[in-house]
């Protein structure tokens, strides 16, 4: 595994919606490369006919009845933590010109 380039780190930061400083990009490029090199050892393990294990419960697709119930959490309480909450809506900067 070759070292992650600064461009690659900048791309991952963009995917992660994190605006990083040049100093952070440089530091993360070293640190993430170390971790990737470490986890690369999994390549030694033979896994050709092995199924992936997403979780240990054996559960999949838990269905619940499609019944609408009033929430115990009030909209006003939820809105209290938002930078701006108006008439039951979160206010955000416009996304269209």
């Amino acid at each position: 595994m070759s070292k992650l380039s600064k461009d690659e780190v900048a791309h991952i930061a963009k995917l992660s919606r994190l605006k990083l400083s040049d100093e952070e990009i440089s530091r993360f490029s070293d640190q993430l490369s170390d971790v990737l090199e470490y986890v690369g050892q999994l390549g030694e393990v033979e896994t050709d006919n092995v199924e992936p294990l997403n979780n240990v419960t054996g559960l999949s697709n838990i269905y619940v009845e499609d019944k609408i119930e009033p929430s115990k959490i009030s909209a006003a309480d939820i809105g209290k933590n938002a930078p701006e909450f108006k008439d039951g809506f979160f206010v955000v900067p416009g996304v269209f010109e």
Partner: protein, 500 residues
């Protein structure tokens, strides 16, 4: 002193009328005032709420309407559990002023049983770390640092549930609750000489606990004795319709299942947990504990789990992928730190995308950013098969290996951490070295197994060393029985730190 009591002993004194919940709660609040500026276990001490809940408990007791054996018992809660109306930070600046509009299921269960919320404890930011050093809060005000180990204030308490472990060890609560994704209950329990149990995945509801890695996270008790862990686990456990991975299995009366009879069981000693890198003093203390179990009648057998050496690599792929997904919700729009609210002067020309990426960059600490980035990378197009899917397959093999071992033995016994508590700053510059300190606790979580840390002894420098008991799925009762038996014949768990 009252603050030294366990759940069991406090509950008996409350029942006999010897003490009231208010007296017990006040004793702990005074203890917090006396030593928490040095230990720094708490982000928030809930003095007003605690006294109100204690008074209500005393009223119930007077009118003979006691709710449970934990009615009136002060409990500390890791600041990762949502507590309605009480600031909950995950030890991150991004949630510095977050007031949850609802209560986590586990804490709701505790309050419904009459327990008293004493405060919210410090942790590694979003439970990411092994030393509580990634917390954004310098709770030990006398040192202007994060939580310190009550056994040696120059050392870290472990993490991520470091505040809960330090609070129990320093008698700043009667018991605490933590969470464990890769060792976050067991490792600090070991380093602070308390008992900490990570239950089977699905035993305890995750609803209302901030998610780190949803397929690995599990909440559990952190207590002064195994007996207390058994009591507290019962109230924490059970199915919750808000968490579909919580199990519908019946919750046993764990504490009534405890006994001191001879241990008629087969205990495996996995050689991979005793490999290079294990501190010689830790090795010696764990071997002595194994001898103790042999004396008590347990059959001790050497076993091998050859794939265990890959567990940490599996973990450092799966966990960051789940982190990067779970932490996407912190977007500066609905709650938490936001440039829309906190930036001065406010730049009105920022696009929505910039609001996301600047709020997140300013709000998250370095470790959270590292794990989000790592997770984004190993699950991104072109790398997901090589890393993420590969790790999920190796997870299957590790799980199968544990299943096969538990056909032969009832429990596994191992160290919890490769070394005793290390000093502040020792591992912060090199994240990989910090990750490696979890090598003996991490393998349990991808397999979903229950495991407990309990005090096993002290090094020459008087630093605590914990013993890890690992069970098969739903093996909590066996773990608790076996741990309790150890505490009947040893007194490590009764030792108290002298906080200077």
């Amino acid at each position: 002193m009252l603050y030294e009591l366990t759940i069991k002993s406090a509950s008996e004194k409350l029942a006999s009328g010897e003490i009231s919940s208010v007296e017990l709660t006040e004793s702990i609040l005074e203890r917090i005032k006396a030593v928490d500026s040095k230990v720094g276990a708490y982000i928030t001490v809930c003095e007003k709420e605690a006294l109100g809940m204690a008074r209500a408990s005393d009223e119930r007791r007077k009118s003979g309407k006691i709710l449970s054996e934990i009615d009136g018992i002060p409990i500390a809660v890791k600041d990762l559990y949502l507590t309605k109306g009480i600031r909950t930070t995950a030890a991150s600046k991004i949630l510095d002023d977050f007031i949850p509009p609802y209560e986590s299921t586990v804490t709701a269960h505790l309050w419904a049983a009459g327990a008293v919320l004493i405060g919210k404890t410090n942790l590694d930011q979003f439970a990411m770390g092994s030393s509580t050093e990634t917390s954004a809060y310098n709770t030990a005000t006398e040192y202007d640092s994060t939580t310190r180990n009550p056994w040696d204030l120059e050392r870290i308490p472990g993490g991520s549930s470091g505040g809960s472990a330090a609070a129990v060890a320093a008698d700043l609560c009667i018991a605490a609750v933590g969470t464990d994704t890769g060792g976050s209950i067991r490792q600090p329990a070991s380093l602070c000489s308390i008992t900490g149990l990570k239950p089977t995945y699905g035993r305890v509801s995750r609803y209302g606990i901030m998610a780190m890695a949803s397929s690995l996270d599990q909440a559990g008790p952190m207590t002064k004795t195994v007996e207390d862990a058994a009591i507290l686990l019962k109230y924490m456990s059970g199915h919750d319709k808000h968490d579909s991975t919580s199990s519908k299995r019946e919750v046993p009366e764990y504490s009534s299942g405890l006994g001191t009879r001879d241990l008629q069981l087969k205990v495996g000693v996995p050689k991979e947990f005793f490999g290079a890198g294990l501190d010689p003093e830790v090795d010696k203390i764990i071997r002595e504990a194994i001898d103790k179990y042999r004396e008590m009648g347990a059959e001790i057998v050497d076993v091998s789990l050859p794939l265990i050496k890959y567990a940490l690599a599996v973990y450092y792929i799966l966990m960051p992928v789940e982190v990067s997904s779970n932490l996407a919700r912190y977007d500066g729009i609905r709650y938490g730190y936001s440039v829309l609210k906190h930036q001065t002067p406010r730049n009105n020309n920022q696009t929505l995308d910039e609001v996301y990426s600047i709020s997140r960059a300013e709000g998250f600490g370095a470790e959270a950013k590292r794990r989000i980035m790592l997770g984004s990378y190993v699950s991104s197009a072109g790398y997901a098969d090589a890393y993420y899917k590969k790790a999920l397959k190796v997870r299957t093999l590790i799980k199968n290996e544990f299943d096969r071992i538990f056909e032969k033995v009832d429990l596994l016994i191992a160290p919890v951490a490769p070394s005793p508590a290390f000093k502040f700053g020792e591992k912060t510059a090199d994240p990989l070295s910090m990750y490696l300190s979890d090598v003996l606790t991490v393998p349990i979580n991808p397999a979903g197994l229950p495991a407990m840390s309990l005090p096993a002894g002290f090094t020459k420098e008087n630093l605590p060393v914990g013993l890890q008991l690992i069970g098969p799925m739903w093996g909590e009762q066996t773990i608790l029985n076996t741990g309790h038996a150890f505490q009947q014949v040893t007194n490590h768990h009764l030792q108290k730190p002298k906080i200077k």
